[in-house]
Assembly symmetry: C2
Homo-oligomer: 281 residues x 2
């Protein structure tokens, strides 16, 4: 039997990142929870992990710039993408009746995404915790009286909690997109179907510079999937651009486009080429 | 004496949004704290407030898509922008010694932005609270033993707390950009210096469509200050674009550019024209 791979992710066991890891690699993995994003990049780079699962953007909260920074600072590559719907569940110790719940623990962002539920049940006291999955872990080990927690179904399963009310989030269209990262020497399997490329580039600081850069793609009928500018610190009016487009790095058309783009940009870095997932975001 | 204006913002008194409000309008304002973003848009629209101060993007966390959605759904206009550096301070009841502090309350995002401080003082227990300013309010009213809070200097001033250690955040380059909103009938003072325009548009779904749209600006030497794509829900491969560029809506050049852009987009909405601030972001 093949040895299980070690997958680094940020958060406690049962975090939404763990759901993404299972979507990307199946359930037969060993998980390495990290407190901070940078730690999981380092764990992968240093060989403590075989892969890392990184949240990169969320429907409500935008791009995770910190992780784009780490993608530029570490020499790793994106080999897959997926998206996870953020479903919040009310979780209790098994056998607890809803009438006995008084206090609901979770991360404030999760509590704030369930305001309709709290409005319908004004007796419930919102109590903040440092982590969604961590609130289930604490509830199951410390058993405070009348406690429930809000977290993913995986957190309930991991810590032996029971889902009393499923999907209590206000907005069902809340998705987070994740990248699967590997070290640069990882041999990527051949991509079947559409491929997508993620890259970062900067342009010279002048009107029309982005327009000229996008010509490299548009003149070759390449479809953009994402574009985002980010001001460069300490350099007013200079920008970093995040770009995703459809195509494979082995396509002649794409290679020409990248060569053309390199002519008009100061910095250009391909972060990865991977199967384009049917993602909701 | 002129009646004070009522300014809606999200959060408790002393939130970073209140700092932005003071930067934008000076200290002689009446503040209307709102629990959720939508409530402050509604308060302004319905006349309960005269202005609203809205966070729109953050250096580390990206654009606040929810507020772009509200900008599209409500008929309000942007009349100014500013940026606030997110400075976290350790705040205590006056007279407290640092040696007596055991427990530090704040929003988990703020606690996570001060990890170096906690690493240097391992005796301190991080304790989550729903709000940064709210943690100062609670500490000053309930006075838990050995308690401190992490929040803005304004929160310390508002609730009578004392700043024991200033600027304990890990990253000094953490800025949030805010918009000042008014109702559409508000008469904007004449803009001196550079003006900036914020808009949203969609394009037809085909390769090169963004390139053709940007031609409307590039061919007229108009400088982009921000571009961001956002997938449209339920419409794969169709995007909304957020765009900021330098120029005044009264300029003939800008009017031509907007007319040209309208030709190649399905939806186009100018969200406001305002003085371009020297913002750090």
């Amino acid at each position: 039997m093949k040895k299980k791979e070690i997958v680094a992710f940020q958060g406690e066991r049962g975090a939404f990142s763990e759901l993404a890891a299972v979507q990307l690699l199946g359930p037969r993995i060993d998980l390495l929870p990290c407190e901070r994003f940078e730690q999981m990049f380092r764990a992968l780079q240093d060989g403590a992990a075989d892969a890392a699962v990184v949240p990169i953007e969320n429907t409500l909260h935008g791009s995770v710039h910190e992780n784009y920074d780490h993608l530029l600072n570490f020499d790793l590559k994106i080999v897959a993408e997926t998206s996870v719907r953020i479903v919040h569940n009310l979780i209790v110790p098994p056998g607890t009746k809803f009438a006995d719940v008084r206090r609901v623990y979770s991360h404030p962002v999760a509590l704030n995404q369930c305001l309709r539920f709290f409005a319908a049940h004004p007796r419930l006291v919102k109590t903040t915790h440092y982590d969604t999955a961590g609130s289930v872990k604490m509830m199951m080990s410390e058993r405070p009286e009348g406690a429930a927690a809000i977290a993913s179904s995986l957190a309930a399963a991991n810590y032996g909690g029971e889902i009393l009310k499923a999907s209590i989030e206000d907005d069902r269209k809340n998705f987070t997109r994740f990248f699967l990262l590997r070290r640069p020497d990882f041999v990527t399997p051949k991509i079947k179907g559409n491929a997508k490329i993620s890259m970062v580039f900067t342009t010279k600081n002048s009107p029309g510079s982005l327009f000229r850069a996008l010509a490299a793609l548009a003149l070759r009928d390449i479809s953009l999937a994402k574009i985002e500018s980010r001001p460069m610190r300490g350099r007013p009016w200079e920008y970093l651009f995040y770009l995703d487009f459809l195509g494979h790095v082995d396509d002649k058309n794409v290679q020409n486009a990248l060569a053309h783009l390199a002519e008009v940009s100061d910095l250009l870095r391909v972060l990865g080429c991977y199967p384009a997932a049917k993602i909701d975001l």
